[in-house]
Amino acid sequence: MHAYANPTRFLQIAKPLTPWLLGAGLLLVLGGAWAGLAMVPGDYKQGETARILYVHVPSAWLGMGGWTSLAIAGLIQLVWRHPLSGIAARAIAVPGMLFTALCLATGSIWGRPTWGTWWEWDGRMTSMLVLLFLYAGFIALTSGDDGQRQGGSLSRGAAIYALVGAINIPIINRSVVWWNSLHQGPSITLGGSSIDRALLWPLGLTVLGFSLLFGAIVLMRMRRIIADNRVAARLRRLADDEGI
């Protein structure tokens, strides 16, 4: 594990991996979207409206999965101080926030025709909105700091923020079980799926596809942060040599 925490070693793997993740992710998302929109039947109750779940569910998964990985990166940063963990956390924050926003937007668009409302302050929606704000806070906290000088690593405050924010993830997950909510209960649990198999398989494609795309975006952002740090370090050395 320590070997891959070395930025040079990481770049050797990340560079060839990125186009594969990107290509496979795009193919799976397009295939899953085509299958979800055109091949499978509509829902028995909601009709065509339920097809938005093929975007809504992967977005929710990546919004929550994004913060989970961000918190793990924060923990590694705090304990082992691997230079890559802070870079990974910075790289995850923006796509994580994007997918959280996409989840809220698709949920709102879905809620209007089915429930009859764009937005309600029930447990699921409120906790998901809190996740969006957590991402915004993390981005604000890490974009104004001196990350380039520290090789991209997080300040202790940002790493602790990432860990503390993780408490919201089980709350989002359990919000529809603990509290009466407008949002329905979980469809996919460890015990099985209450989405019929005929409607479920395109969801598998889009979840996997969006996850690979997420991975590709994170790798690209990590490479960019590393490149930026190297440019900044070189400029600093040049400036020092010239005695400016």
Partner: protein, 145 residues
């Protein structure tokens, strides 16, 4: 003990603390964070007349009655333990129907009827194609074009 082991233990202890605090907070919020109350919670005068609240439940089978004015509907909301009659004047969402979930904003009237200002439909977590054989009889397949 190396410094990084100390940090690991410290971080894990802090994580447990945060998790415990979260669980405590969530369980304390159990009743407060509920989006609606169910009939058993408001039946028998447990809810003050005229106090704004939200009622959630299933629409009892065969209970929807359209009134002569064409706009007002009456139905019975139930949670399996208790039932509350509901009156509402307005347009309901498409998914509103008998043996289906609904959430109503409104208040109790002195005669024990819940008068709703707004009705939302609540659906369950099942998704399936319309031609499934085990479909409940009251659920019709959507019209296809």
């Amino acid at each position: 003990m190396k410094a990084k082991h100390q940090r690991l233990i410290l971080a894990l202890v802090a994580l447990c603390g945060i998790g415990g605090a979260g669980v405590l907070a969530a369980s304390a919020l159990r009743a407060e964070a509920a989006y609606f109350r169910t009939p058993v919670e408001i039946q028998g005068g447990k809810a003050a007349v005229g106090e704004p609240m939200r009622l959630g439940g299933m629409v009892a089978k065969g209970s929807i009655q359209r009134q002569a004015d064409g706009l007002t509907i009456r139905f019975v909301a139930t949670d399996g333990k208790a039932s509350v009659p509901v009156e509402y004047k307005g347009i309901v969402p498409d998914l509103f129907g008998e043996e289906s979930g609904m959430v109503a904003d409104g208040r109790m009237r002195a005669d024990g009827t819940f008068v709703a200002d707004r009705i939302l439909a609540k659906h369950d977590e099942r998704y399936m194609p319309p031609q499934m054989g085990d479909m409940p009889k009251n659920m019709k397949a959507p019209a296809t074009t």
